[in-house]
């Protein structure tokens, strides 16, 4: 599957085996770490009245946690489909950026790039970049991609089936599963005062507009206005 790396002839067997073991372990750890998110996504989706097939389709094809969660959260809150899909697409833009990085790093040929693009997400990109210097980037990318793809889809199905059996979101506390998951995902990115202010500003702008615009729209308004303000302030 992978092209021979320029370092292969320099490596004896032992370091290569060690690298393979390291990549396999990381792939499994990261795969397992996405399962709670997949479980809550499945559960929140059925609360938003998506059918099991629709929930599975999102995990199989859309395959990007933040976009999927945003889509079903906004639909579940009674927001417009325009806001729901718009927010999901804007959150998906970063995968395109990852794609450019992965493309220059791994140089996939022909039809393989279609498969590679589909599994280019936060985790697989980070892993490929971190193994770029060891010459194992391709193996790292596919290992993580496979592990996360399989476990994400399995946990989605389980979450959807379990969520179906639970009561209303408020009595089970499931109405904060999404926000809590996002706080955990955002934390590493909130490492500068600039980003913290952007996050806070975006939340405040969104809340201020809640009484005046259609449900779901405050998320797009808050998110886009905060980015625009950030760009103006950076000048």
């Amino acid at each position: 599957m992978s092209e021979p790396s320029p370092h292969d002839h320099l490596m004896s067997d032992a370091p290569r085996k060690a690298a393979e073991r390291r990549i396999r372990n990381r792939a499994l750890t990261i795969g397992v770490s996405v399962t709670p998110f997949g479980l809550s996504f499945g559960a929140v989706s059925v609360e938003a009245h998506l059918s099991l097939i629709q929930v599975c389709l999102l995990s199989l094809v859309l395959f990007s946690g933040a976009s999927q969660f945003a889509l079903v959260s906004i639909i579940g809150a009674g927001g417009s489909y325009f806001s729901a899909v718009g927010t999901a697409l804007l959150l998906g833009v970063r995968n395109g950026l990852y794609g450019a990085r992965v493309n220059t790093l791994l140089r996939p040929a022909g039809l393989r790039r279609f498969v590679m693009a589909e599994v280019t997400i936060d985790e697989s990109t980070a892993m490929a970049v971190s193994e770029a210097r060891t010459g194992h980037a391709t193996r790292a990318f596919w290992s993580i991609a496979l592990s996360v793809y399989v476990l994400w889809n399995l946990s989605t199905i389980v979450g959807a089936l379990v969520g179906n059996a639970l009561g209303s979101p408020a009595t089970t506390g499931l109405d904060v599963a999404g926000p809590a998951a996002f706080i955990a995902l955002l934390a590493p990115r909130l490492n500068t005062v600039r980003m913290r202010l952007a996050a806070l500003g975006s939340g405040v702008i969104a809340l201020v507009t809640v009484p005046f615009v259609p449900v779901g729209a405050p998320i797009l308004i808050g998110g886009l206005t905060a980015v625009a303000l950030l760009l103006v302030l950076d000048r």
Partner: protein, 100 residues
């Protein structure tokens, strides 16, 4: 029917965005403005989504059990608790406050 359309457009659109990265010349993405926008956009969109999911119901601002859940999540993230602990504790807190 509209729900199906939303699911299909979101799936097709996000898959297309992923593929775009492999096709669009990378120099277009390397400008300073593009980099800053792409770095900040997920953070601001998710923050807005969190704020609205916790403090609003429809077109009304609300302060209820969800805020308690969010507070617990913030504290647990600050002390670097594992992901599953953050989500489960936040849900349990919100459910507990709601029942009370």
């Amino acid at each position: 029917m509209k729900l199906w359309l939303a699911v299909i457009i979101a799936c097709a659109g996000c898959a297309a965005l992923k593929l775009a990265g492999f096709v669009v010349p990378s120099r277009l993405l390397e400008t300073k403005v593009a980099q800053r926008t792409l770095e900040a956009l997920p953070v601001t969109l998710l923050s807005a989504l969190i704020a609205v999911s916790v403090f609003a119901t429809g077109n009304h601002l609300m302060l209820d059990s969800r805020a308690a859940g969010l507070a617990v999540a913030l504290i647990l993230v600050a002390i670097r608790a594992p992901f599953l602990v953050v989500v489960v504790a936040a849900c349990a807190t919100a459910a507990g406050v709601h029942a009370f």
